[in-house]
């Protein structure tokens, strides 16, 4: 249960702010393809920091992991299902 564990919430916040600054800096400094890769990698890391520490998912049972991951898989399937629409557009 979340009640018995307590991450360092301030440290997580500092990471979140720092990573936000990194992604903004990358959009100005790096070439577009490199910037895109870094920006979305940073976004995924920030989301994981929030989910695992602020939403306490790292202290929860596997059922809650499943409830978060299954809809994500559905969204990824949806995206790949839509890809042929523009890949094969004449």
């Amino acid at each position: 249960m979340a009640e018995t564990h307590r991450p360092n919430y301030f440290l997580v916040w500092i990471w979140l702010i720092g990573l936000a600054i990194v992604s903004v800096a990358a959009s100005f400094v790096l070439p577009k393809s490199g910037a895109l890769f870094l920006i979305f990698s940073v976004a995924i890391i920030k989301a994981l920091l929030v989910v695992l520490n602020y939403m306490h998912l790292k202290f929860e049972r596997p059922l809650l992991y499943a409830m978060a991951i299954v809809p994500l898989i559905i969204v990824i399937i949806l995206m790949f299902a839509l890809f042929p629409d523009f890949v094969f557009r004449g």
Binding site: W13, A35, I39
Partner: protein, 191 residues
């Protein structure tokens, strides 16, 4: 006495928490579907970066810091509930509420500036996605503000104790809204 939402299910997880996670699972498909559509349509056409350059980047960056910080105060409110510190619960709920309102006010200024320059939802496919995604997100922020206001009123009246588990549940929702913005900001403003 425990409320119904605190009763453990056969999974060992309180019913209230399972309920909120079910709700968030459905929300993942709502925002995920929108974001997936945005990416696919954007990859299939051009001119989006030019449209994106008309957005007010500075206000969006301020809003990013506001929302990230509000997640910190929300989780600190939850920590204060567990530590039986009612004053800190009140203070952190109030800060979260104020930052939620600040986010909406700043977003309102941003919308006003864009509409004044002719960038309405009908100005093009980018703008339709922009207003659709950020508008839906802003409605979710508004919903979180209302829930946090109800919790703050209960905390100020010192009637929060029997329903204090709702601070954690409201926090789960608030952090999810924060995560949605973590993806919307780079998708709309940084690419």
């Amino acid at each position: 006495m425990n409320s119904r939402a605190e009763v453990l299910t056969s999974t060992g997880i309180p019913t209230g928490k399972i309920g909120v996670w079910w709700f968030l699972a459905s929300e993942i498909t709502v925002f995920g579907g929108l974001i997936a559509s945005y990416i696919v349509v954007r990859l299939g056409s051009s001119g989006w970066s030019e449209a994106s350059s008309h957005l007010n980047f500075s206000l969006a960056l301020v809003n990013t810091f506001v929302l990230l910080t509000s997640s910190l105060t929300m989780v600190l409110a939850f920590a204060a509930v567990e530590e039986k510190q009612p004053r800190r619960v009140q203070a952190n709920l109030l800060l979260t509420l104020l930052m939620g309102l600040a986010f909406l006010v700043i977003k309102g200024f941003e919308y006003a500036g864009e509409i004044t320059h002719g960038f309405t939802p009908g100005a093009g496919i980018f703008w339709s996605f922009y207003y659709g995604m950020t508008g839906l997100h802003a409605l979710h922020v508004l919903g979180g503000v209302v829930v946090n206001l109800m919790l703050l009123i209960a905390a100020l009246r010192e009637t929060l104790r029997p329903i204090e588990h709702r601070v954690e549940l409201a926090g789960l929702y608030w952090h999810f809204v924060d995560i949605v913005w973590i993806f919307l900001f780079p998708l709309l403003y940084l690419t």
